[in-house]
C-alpha cells in the first residue's frame, strides 16, 4: 500500500492506525522516526534529489526506496528479519506516488516479492488552501489514488470544497472519511488497485489534467489492445498519469493498469463495467480515441 498526501494531511496518523490494526506490516517512511511503533519493522528511506550519497546518477539504477524494498525481501528470505505480509510506503508530502507504482510494475526482480496494493491519498478536508502551495503535486496525488481518505472532517466546517476537488480530478475514486484519525482500516486494505467505475470526460478548470473513459461495446483482440497501449506509451507515455480499467477481450475481461511509461501485464478480471479510464496530463480523449479507431481500422 502506498500512502500519499499533501504536507500535514494526516498520513502519519493514518499509518499509525493501520499499523495498530495490522502489526505484521513493514513500514517505509521518508522521514526518520515519523512512525514510532515498537513492534513493527521500521525501514528508513531517504529519497534524495541529489546524486550522493545514494550512488550517483551515472551508475545507480535503483532509487533508495527500491533498494530498501529489495533489501527487505533479501533479508526476509534469509531469515535476517521477521516476516511481514504487507508493506506500507508513506511518501513524503511532496512526492508523486506514480513512480512507486512504476517501480513495482517495471522491476521484475522486485515484482517477484511485491504486488502493488492500493494507492491511498490522504486529503485534508480543511486544507484546500495548503494544497495551493504546490497544486500540481496535490492534484497528481489525488489523480493517482485508488482510495482517497478525507481526513480531519471533524475540523472542517465545510467538506464540500475538498469533495469537489477530489471529484473533479478523480471522480471514480473510492472515498473514506476519517474523523480524529479513525478510518475503516479493513476497508482500506481490501481496496484493490485499479477500478471498475466509469466516468465521463471531466476537465479540471485551471489544470492540464484530463480525465476520461473509453468504452468498448464489443470484445477486442488482446494483441490489438496491447499494441494500442504500446503505441500510446511510445507517443505520450510521460503524460499518462494513470490508465486503469477493464477491457473485454475474446477470452473475457482483462484488467489494464498503467502509470506513465509502464503497464502491468494484462490480468484476467472477473466482473465489472468494461471501460478504460485515463487520467492524463494534457492528452485529450479525442486524441486517444482517434489512435484507437485508426489502429482498429487497420487491424
Amino acid at each position: 500500500m502506498v500512502v500519499t498526501g499533501f504536507l500535514g494531511s494526516g498520513k502519519t496518523t493514518l499509518v499509525n492506525r493501520l499499523v495498530a490494526r495490522f502489526p505484521e506490516s513493514l513500514v517505509i517512511v521518508n522521514e526518520l522516526g515519523e512512525v514510532p511503533v515498537d513492534h513493527v519493522l521500521i525501514e528508513n528511506s531517504t529519497e534524495k534529489t541529489v546524486a550522493l550519497p545514494n550512488g550517483c546518477l551515472c551508475c545507480h539504477l535503483r532509487g533508495d526506496l527500491e533498494e530498501t524494498l529489495m533489501g527487505a525481501a533479501m533479508r526476509r528470505r534469509r531469515g535476517d528479519i521477521a516476516g511481514f505480509d504487507r508493506v506500507i510506503v508513506e511518501t513524503s508530502g511532496l512526492a508523486d506516488p506514480g513512480p512507486v507504482a512504476q517501480t513495482l510494475y517495471a522491476d521484475p526482480a522486485l515484482a517477484r516479492d511485491y504486488k502493488l496494493g492500493p494507492i491511498v491519498a490522504v486529503v485534508d478536508a480543511a486544507g484546500a488552501e495548503a494544497r495551493k502551495v504546490a497544486p500540481e503535486i496535490a492534484r497528481g496525488q489525488i489523480a493517482a489514488a485508488d482510495v482517497v481518505v478525507l481526513s480531519k472532517i471533524d475540523r472542517a466546517a465545510d467538506t464540500a470544497r475538498a469533495e469537489r476537488e477530489v471529484s473533479e480530478i478523480n471522480p471514480a475514486v473510492r472515498r473514506l472519511a476519517a474523523k480524529f484519525g479513525e478510518v475503516d482500516a479493513a476497508a482500506l486494505l481490501e481496496a484493490k488497485p485499479g477500478t471498475d467505475h466509469v466516468f465521463s470526460s471531466t476537465p479540471v478548470h485551471g489544470s492540464t489534467i484530463r480525465t476520461f473513459a473509453m468504452h468498448f461495446a464489443q470484445p477486442v483482440r488482446r494483441e490489438l489492445l496491447q499494441q494500442f497501449l504500446s503505441t500510446l506509451v511510445d507517443l505520450r507515455g510521460a503524460d499518462l498519469l494513470r490508465v486503469k480499467g477493464l477491457v473485454p477481450v475474446r477470452e473475457g475481461l482483462v484488467l489494464v493498469q498503467g502509470v506513465r511509461h509502464v503497464f502491468d501485464r494484462l490480468r484476467p478480471a472477473r466482473e465489472g463495467e468494461p471501460a478504460l479510464v485515463f487520467i492524463t496530463n494534457g492528452v485529450e480523449k479525442h486524441e486517444v480515441q482517434a489512435l484507437w479507431d485508426a489502429m482498429k481500422g487497420l487491424a
Binding site: C58, H60, R62, E67, T68, G71, D107, A109, G237, V262
Partner: protein
C-alpha cells in the same frame, strides 16, 4: 546484425557493464555477466551455441545496498567489483573467484577498500591473471568532493589468496592531502565527479594505462613503475561538453585512441555524448580528428531512458575475444548497439546496428543497451540495463 537469441536470465535481466568470456577446460564458451543491481551478483551462461544460451550459475549479493557491475575473467580466475551505494558500507572492493568449474565459483579472496569515504570499486580490468587495474576508492585518501572517491588503483594478485595494493594515481587537487588546487567542476547538473572509470592496460604496452576519468578527461599514464604512475598526457572535451569520459581504447597499429563518453541522463538531457577518435601517434599530443556518426538525436531522444554513447568492445587481450583495429562496436542505450568502420579515421562510417524493442515491463519504455562483448566467432553479445538481459547477435561485416 542479426538476432540469434535473447535470454532474460531467469527474470533478472538488468545487467551492468561486466562481460567476459571464459574458454572452459571442457571446451565450453562461458559468458560471465555482472548484474546492474541487487539481488543478483553475477550470472554465467554457456554460449557455445549462441542460438541457445543456457544459464549455468547465478549468484546473490549479500545485501541490496551494493552492486557488482563489473567483472573480468582471466583463465580460471574471475575478479568481481563491489560498489556500495552509501559511503562506509561493506563489502566494498573486489572478490576473486576460482571458476575452473564454472557451475561452482569458489571464493579465493577479497580485497577490502571500504572506508568512510569509499563506495568501493566501480570497474576493473583483469586480463593477465596477475594484476587488477581498477577504479576504486582508497581508504587512505579523503576526497575533497565525495564524488571524486574512486581513483586508479593497481593490485597485484599473482598470489590470488593475498591481493596486494601496489600503486595508485588520482587527479591532483581532488584529495585533501593534495597541494594542487581543486579542479574546476562542471556545472552542477553535469557534475559527475573527477574519478576513474575504465582502466585499460594491454600487452602491447604493459607500461601504459589508458585511463578514463569521468569529468577529468582521459589520461595516458606511464605505469612502468607501478608504485608511482606518472601522467604522460591528458585530453579533455569538457567543458564545453558535459563530461563523463568512460573508456579510452587504444588501437596500437593505427596510432588511434577511441574515447567514449557516457550518457547518464534520461531523454538525452546531457547530449551530446559521443565516441571520439584521437590521433595518438604521439602519445604526448593527443589530437581529436573525428567523432563516430551518432544516431539521429531527434529519432531517439524521446524514446525513453538514456540515449548516447557508453561502452565499447575493448579488444580484451584474452582467448575467445574478437580484436579489431578497423571496426569498433559500442552501445548507445536506446540507440542500440552499433558498429563503425574506422578505415579512414577522418571519416568513420556506421556499418551495422541493432536496436531491439523495449523489453517487457521496461521501466523506461525503451531498450537501454549497456555493454557489448564480441567473441572471436564474430558473435556480438550485448546486455540491457533494464530487464532485457542478454542479446546474442550474428555480425556479418
Amino acid at each position: 546484425m542479426k538476432l540469434l537469441a535473447q535470454h532474460t536470465l531467469n527474470g533478472f535481466g538488468g545487467m551492468g557493464e561486466g562481460m567476459s568470456m571464459q574458454l572452459a577446460r571442457d571446451g565450453r564458451r562461458v559468458l560471465w555477466l555482472a548484474h546492474e543491481s541487487a539481488p543478483k551478483n553475477f550470472t554465467a551462461l554457456d554460449v557455445s551455441d549462441p542460438r541457445a544460451p543456457k544459464v549455468i550459475v547465478q549468484t546473490d549479493l549479500p545485501h541490496a545496498q551494493m552492486r557488482s557491475n563489473s567483472l573480468e575473467v582471466a583463465g580460471d580466475l574471475m575478479a568481481v567489483a563491489y560498489q556500495v551505494s552509501k559511503f562506509g558500507l561493506k563489502p566494498a572492493g573486489f572478490e576473486l573467484f576460482d571458476v575452473s568449474v564454472p557451475e561452482r565459483p569458489k571464493s579465493i579472496s577479497f580485497f577490502d577498500a571500504s572506508g568512510p569515504h569509499s563506495r568501493g570499486c566501480h570497474q576493473l580490468w583483469f586480463v593477465d591473471g596477475k594484476t587488477v587495474h581498477m577504479a576504486c576508492a582508497d581508504p587512505e585518501l579523503q576526497p575533497r568532493n565525495p564524488k571524486d572517491d574512486q581513483v586508479y588503483r593497481i593490485v597485484d594478485v599473482a598470489n590470488p589468496a593475498k591481493p596486494a595494493a601496489v600503486g595508485r594515481w588520482h587527479l591532483p587537487g581532488t584529495m585533501e592531502s593534495d597541494d594542487a588546487p581543486p579542479p574546476e567542476r562542471l556545472p552542477a547538473r553535469f557534475d559527475a565527479g573527477f574519478r576513474a572509470h575504465n582502466t585499460n592496460v594491454y600487452p602491447e604496452r604493459p607500461d601504459r594505462c589508458y585511463l578514463a576519468y569521468i569529468d577529468g578527461g582521459i589520461m595516458v599514464l606511464d605505469i612502468s613503475d607501478r608504485a608511482r604512475p606518472q601522467l604522460v598526457s591528458r585530453w579533455t572535451n569538457s567543458p564545453p561538453y558535459h563530461g563523463f569520459n568512460h573508456t579510452a581504447l587504444p588501437l596500437f597499429g593505427r596510432g588511434l585512441l577511441v574515447v567514449s563518453d557516457e550518457s547518464v541522463q534520461d531523454n538525452a538531457a546531457d547530449w551530446p555524448k559521443l565516441v571520439w577518435l584521437l590521433d595518438a601517434r604521439d602519445e604526448r599530443h593527443l589530437v581529436s580528428v573525428a567523432t563516430l556518426p551518432a544516431p539521429p538525436l531527434d529519432a531517439f531522444k524521446s524514446r525513453g531512458g538514456r540515449f548516447g554513447a557508453h561502452n565499447l568492445h575493448e579488444n580484451p587481450p584474452v582467448p575467445g575475444a574478437w580484436r579489431s583495429e578497423d571496426v569498433v562496436l559500442g552501445t548507445f542505450f536506446n540507440g542500440g548497439v552499433r558498429a563503425y568502420d574506422l578505415s579512414d579515421p577522418y571519416a568513420p562510417r556506421e556499418i551495422a546496428y541493432f536496436v531491439p524493442p523495449a523489453p517487457e515491463r521496461s521501466k523506461t519504455g525503451a531498450i537501454q543497451l549497456n555493454d557489448v562483448f564480441v567473441d572471436d566467432r564474430g558473435i556480438v553479445f550485448t546486455v540491457d540495463r533494464g530487464g532485457g538481459g542478454l542479446y546474442a547477435l550474428e555480425m556479418n561485416i
